[in-house]
Symmetry: C2
Subunit: 360 residues, 2 copies
Amino acid sequence: MHEKRLEKIINSMKNHHIDQMIITSPDSIFYLLNEWIHPGERMLALFLNSSGERKLFINELFPIQKDLGVELCIYNDTEDPIDYLEKAINPHKTMGIDKTWPSHFLIRLLKKKSGLQVENGSIVVDKVRMIKDEEEINLMKKASSINDQAMGKIMEVIKTNKYTEMEITKKLEEIYAKYETNGFSFDPLICYGPNAAEPHHSSDKTPLKRNSSIIIDIGCFSNHYASDMTRSMFFGEPDEEYKKIYDLVLKANLAAISTIKPGVKFSTIDKAARDVITNGGYGKYFTHRTGHNIGLCVHEYPDVSGANDMIVEEGMVFSIEPGIYLQEKYGVRIEDLVLVTKTGCEVLNQFPKDLIIFDK
Amino acid sequence: MHEKRLEKIINSMKNHHIDQMIITSPDSIFYLLNEWIHPGERMLALFLNSSGERKLFINELFPIQKDLGVELCIYNDTEDPIDYLEKAINPHKTMGIDKTWPSHFLIRLLKKKSGLQVENGSIVVDKVRMIKDEEEINLMKKASSINDQAMGKIMEVIKTNKYTEMEITKKLEEIYAKYETNGFSFDPLICYGPNAAEPHHSSDKTPLKRNSSIIIDIGCFSNHYASDMTRSMFFGEPDEEYKKIYDLVLKANLAAISTIKPGVKFSTIDKAARDVITNGGYGKYFTHRTGHNIGLCVHEYPDVSGANDMIVEEGMVFSIEPGIYLQEKYGVRIEDLVLVTKTGCEVLNQFPKDLIIFDK
């Protein structure tokens, strides 16, 4: 058990008036226990309450060899784990439930403990996880450093102009495999030509043709922590409009980054990026939020959007990824991860952001 | 909308006294609508009730281009989809909930419709999906036929003795990519030597050494339907015990298959396999159930186990996969998919089951 993190969780429970809760997502359990357990369809739940009880409900198929600092409540396939869990619960107090817990467990629990007040308890954990501790910061820096290196390598492969989008994702898999990674943190978005105008294009069999924009949005897991970066480039001779939107997106990325420091609102950061693009005349082509927090999951709580007035704090890590998408023509997105420091922020990606044009 | 399947679902709702329900898993939605939608974290729900209403609650980010035969209830990211869903629900009748629906949706629904009686509604769908219709049977035969061919090809690659377990899984990915498949239906289990004694070994960097048992448990999705087959082989000179357990596992596989016909219990099939192995003196080394149903998911309801006294029906497809695992030595598993016919069963895998020994 990571006692310092647990202490923060217990404080957060108090802030949210949740006296008892279960944490069931493998990433949040890993965050506390430093053990990654894949329970498949079987119930895995870390029960905590404000008086300090901590119990891990786990199927015997997942034997735990080391001392995790929690009481183990082991069940087998002939038993209903809810029968064990319900004994730990105080029926008179609000119970926090992990947002992702499959409903069939919750339905069984509510039948056995009728009248139990339940709440989405994930906010308790999300608010702690959004501030990274030193150990996490080091691992996230490492993951982004690997991603920088992978970006350089995959660009060289793309420049050979021998491979389709999907073949590039295979090459990228091989590149990540050579580093200390656990593979992709999300399906890579390798987008050629008009595909770059779709912010969520899935890599397909499109080959690279001359006079195409290229978006490369990639990330890996390293020691369970995610990286995520986007660079855009051009094969052939870009027209003036492409150069203009590239310049706007780059300025938007830098403007957002320059506003980041403890105390500003997420919505202010979003506005800084959006204003540059809107003032340049392309506001309606920047169709998504500016970024998202990241850590053990590639998308964590909260996000960098106009609707989020939460205050930025030291230790947060999130993406800044403005983009402009001109349907059936091309698209540009430039994304970095940033770490909020005491006085500003540190950009975790070192890979250059100048427009790369190649033609051979 | 696949009207015949919907009719079966409505009948099944009546059998289970569920007047209204939501189906939220992408595979069950595909089963009815013939449209595969990946909603990510956003709510996707097909609402049905016994008076024939059918509504699909879907985020505007997933535009539906064709007529799916359901009323579309489209929401956006600034709205709570539960506000829409609750309007469709009759608060006085039991509501079936998909077993996998994330709890935070259910918690919000229960707050807005206090007193609503909810049940795990997935059994309604599972019981219909367990009997495959003609279209499904054809697709499952095709998926298994591809798997037969892939098994032959990957065995030839293994026999070159140039690759680690993990490298073989990469090669297999390339083989599947050459057919009309959507990739692996589960992470392939390529197990060399003592790794074959772990029924759920994950392929790792183990190289193939002389005098090793090999287990190859592989499957792909083809047109969304899963295949799943296991063969075992030996590199070098197997000892007498290996040959003995291979023979027992093969006999257990055949004994189970010979009992399959409409009207027998799943537990009887399990017993047929288990008896052969137990009588051969290895009962305690056959550590898992004999099989599982399969279709759009690789593991479907129900399973072939001693605890399942349900009756086998025509149109079911499930695996028969007895195994013997001798820790730190070797393991054998032989798995086929079978389709229950009017009078018996048809084995969907044609790949030979005789012991293959190679040594070069």
